[in-house]
């Protein structure tokens, strides 16, 4: 008699197999824990995604056989992201890192369908019982850069290559400008938007045009080492982004703002293993080591190094905040008075420029 698959036999069969598997499940507790990563760019970008992948490798190194990581790179923000994150969730990963702002809504939607899977979303603001949010205070690093730039720039003109005018980028430009103004009050920060996170050619061209216009410090909020490489070639200085880019600009790189996600990722994997994982929103900076500064380059004078260290140590000790008042906007209105500082909420919504920024 041929075997006929009916709904009834299927149900019976699956009940039988699942009851068979049940004791097995417990035996399999030693199986490696699945950890998934969704990346917005290629791991070879040497910037944002590269830094997340370095952290993933730190997780592998720390836990060895106890974890099994899976990553998907070049995930477009939008419907594609939801598909990829769902795929990661349904293929047995217990913890999933969604590593860009644009993955927020897809992550929240998938999280609803997989309540037993934990999700970590970078740089967003929406949480759920199984979705935590983590972000780094990169603007603290920008303030350190500003102090160093103030002691390095001769022309008082800074070229700043921006990606998109979102709060994250705006607060970085403002933090840099304010810190630099403490040394050189009349500094001019020229911002050029390349409308991309990643286009080495265009980023390099933007650096060239800014240097042609007198800038002797190049800052970037884009992901490739191209601007720094141009700075090296033209004999001016700049700051690395996300990774230490010293190899591309041995003389030009003053320091770099390093994204250091590894320790946090290890903590969170451990928390899932221990069953202590809870949702939260964290925004960590220099103090917790999520933002680090690369070793100073050869062009940093002792004076500049001292100024940079003072800012870094002040931020870590809590005696200095990059957005301490008084701060005026471009119209000359006092945004925050002396003795006060901008709140996190104000920072996350920042859409105005401080004096001295030329957009």
């Amino acid at each position: 008699m041929p075997f006929r698959l009916s709904r009834r036999t299927l149900l019976a069969a699956s009940a039988a197999t699942s009851s068979l598997l049940l004791p097995g499940r417990r035996l399999l507790a030693q199986e490696p824990m699945g950890v998934g990563f969704a990346y917005v760019g290629p791991i070879g970008d040497y910037g944002w995604t590269h830094a997340h992948d370095v952290a993933r490798r730190a997780v592998v190194e720390h836990f060895g056989d106890r974890v099994k990581t899976t990553y998907v790179e070049n995930v477009a923000e939008g419907p594609d992201a939801e598909r990829v994150i769902r795929q990661l969730a349904s293929s047995g990963n217990q913890l999933i890192f969604a590593t860009t702002f644009g993955f927020m809504n897809p992550t929240i939607r998938v999280a609803r369908q997989f309540p037993q899977v934990k999700f970590e979303h970078a740089t967003g603001y929406q949480t759920a019982p199984n979705v935590a949010v983590y972000n780094a205070r990169f603007y603290e690093g920008r303030a350190v850069c500003g102090a160093i730039a103030g002691h390095t720039s001769k022309s008082g003109i800074v070229g700043y290559i921006g990606s998109f005018p979102i709060p994250e980028v705006v607060m970085g430009i403002n933090a840099f400008t304010l810190a630099m103004q403490k040394v050189q009050p009349d500094v001019q920060v020229k911002v050029v938007w390349v409308n991309s996170w990643y286009d080495p050619g265009k980023e390099g061209d933007a650096a060239k045009t800014l240097i042609d216009q007198g800038a002797d410090i190049i800052c970037q909020h884009t992901d490739s080492p191209a601007p720094l490489q141009v700075a090296q070639e033209r004999g001016v200085h700049g700051f690395g982004q996300a990774s230490d880019m010293q190899a591309y600009a041995p003389q030009a790189q003053l320091t770099a703002i390093l994204d250091h996600w590894g320790d946090y990722y290890i903590d969170r994997v451990q928390a899932v293993m221990d069953g202590t994982w809870e949702t939260h929103i964290i925004w960590w900076g220099l103090k917790q080591g999520m933002v680090k500064m690369a070793p100073y380059g050869p062009a940093v004078t002792p004076e500049a190094a001292q100024a940079g260290d003072a800012v870094r140590e002040g931020i870590i000790a809590g005696t200095l905040h990059p957005f301490d008042g008084p701060i005026e906007n471009q119209a000359g209105e006092m945004v925050i008075a002396e003795g006060e500082q901008l709140s996190d909420e104000q920072l996350l919504k920042m859409d105005w420029w401080v004096k001295g920024v030329q957009v």
């Binding site: 290629p42 040497y46 070229g159 938007w193 080495p200 050619g201 061209d205």
Partner: protein, 309 residues
């Protein structure tokens, strides 16, 4: 803008235009023979990663450039085998070639991320290179920049003045007629496609050795697609490709420059739209108006040819 900074901006424009010029010239020849190869981006990436890897490994930029041309040609050969010998759909195959090139170049290049390379040396002619304005503008570039301009002249001469060029155009305009008077349509198209691959490979080499001397994944950032648009923009004429590439580079650099000086009061997003807007306008002008017919695409563009036996 002062005299000096104008020169500097123009030098930047030339380097921004060169990769586009290489890739578009190659594609132009392929399209004039009737083959639409949408894999330019993939071929450029193959060239970029090969040029970088070979230069870093052997220390010879010359070898890097030559192997980049070869890598582009190999990608093109693959495309030719599929579309010309197996008559697969050119659009789909070209798209596949681009996606394949992105993945392959990332794989090959994974060990080369984060390594710097010496920039291609600029040719210096004592006396001439030191002249103000003209010196940096005309005599201060690397060999690939001059090669791209020479190639434009070469392609223009070949298409218009030589027998081979006429055969190539005939194949592109009417493959059946060319075949019936005894020309090997498939062979001509293979050669044209291979030339396209070589040029895209050289464009890629310029990216990874001169424009931004490094290897990072997907460093072409869409330049292969712009090259494709440039061919249409130029209505399949070599010197207009050169003009288009320099115009495109010029508008891109100018908008960056304008932003740095405070802009013209126009939002940055509008400025970055300009080059693309210009392309659309030209396309619209070509499609209608009194030029229609004279500026049309090669008649057999994109159509597979299977010789009747």
């Amino acid at each position: 803008m002062s005299f000096d900074s104008t020169t500097l901006v123009l030098v930047t424009v030339i380097s921004a235009a060169t990769p586009l010029l290489f890739a578009a010239l190659g594609e132009l020849v392929a399209e004039r023979s009737g083959v639409l190869n949408l894999g330019v981006e993939g071929m450029m990436l193959a060239g970029a990663v090969t040029a970088f890897a070979v230069t870093v490994t052997t220390g010879s930029a010359t070898l890097g450039i030559l192997t980049a041309a070869l890598a582009g040609a190999l990608m093109a050969l693959m495309f030719g085998a599929l579309t010309l010998s197996l008559t697969s759909n050119q659009v789909a195959t070209g798209l596949a070639l681009t996606i394949f090139g992105i993945g392959l170049s990332a794989l090959v290049g994974s060990g080369f991320v984060g390594i710097p390379v010496e920039r291609l040396p600029r040719l210096r002619i004592p006396g001439l290179s030191d002249l103000p304005v003209i010196g940096p503008l005309l005599f201060g570039h690397d060999v690939l920049v001059y090669l791209s301009v020479a190639a434009t002249a070469g392609v223009a001469w070949f298409l218009k003045r030589t027998r081979g060029g006429m055969i190539l155009r005939a194949v592109g305009e009417s493959d059946v007629s060319a075949h019936s008077i005894g020309y090997d349509v498939i062979k001509v198209r293979y050669l044209a496609v291979l030339f396209g691959g070589v040029m895209a490979g050289l464009g890629g080499a310029f990216l990874s050795l001169s424009y931004t001397p490094m290897w990072v994944e997907e460093m072409t950032a869409g330049r292969g697609w712009i090259a494709l648009a440039l061919v249409v923009f130029a209505s399949w004429r070599p010197w207009r490709v050169l003009l288009g590439a320099y115009l495109f580079g010029g508008v891109t650099i100018l908008q960056l420059y304008a932003q740095g000086t405070g802009g013209f009061g126009v939002p940055a997003q509008v400025m970055s739209m300009l080059p693309y807007l210009a392309t659309i306008v030209v396309l619209a002008v070509i499609a209608g108006g009194p030029w229609k017919g004279r500026l049309d695409a090669p008649a057999c563009l994109g159509q597979p040819f299977r010789p009747a036996t």
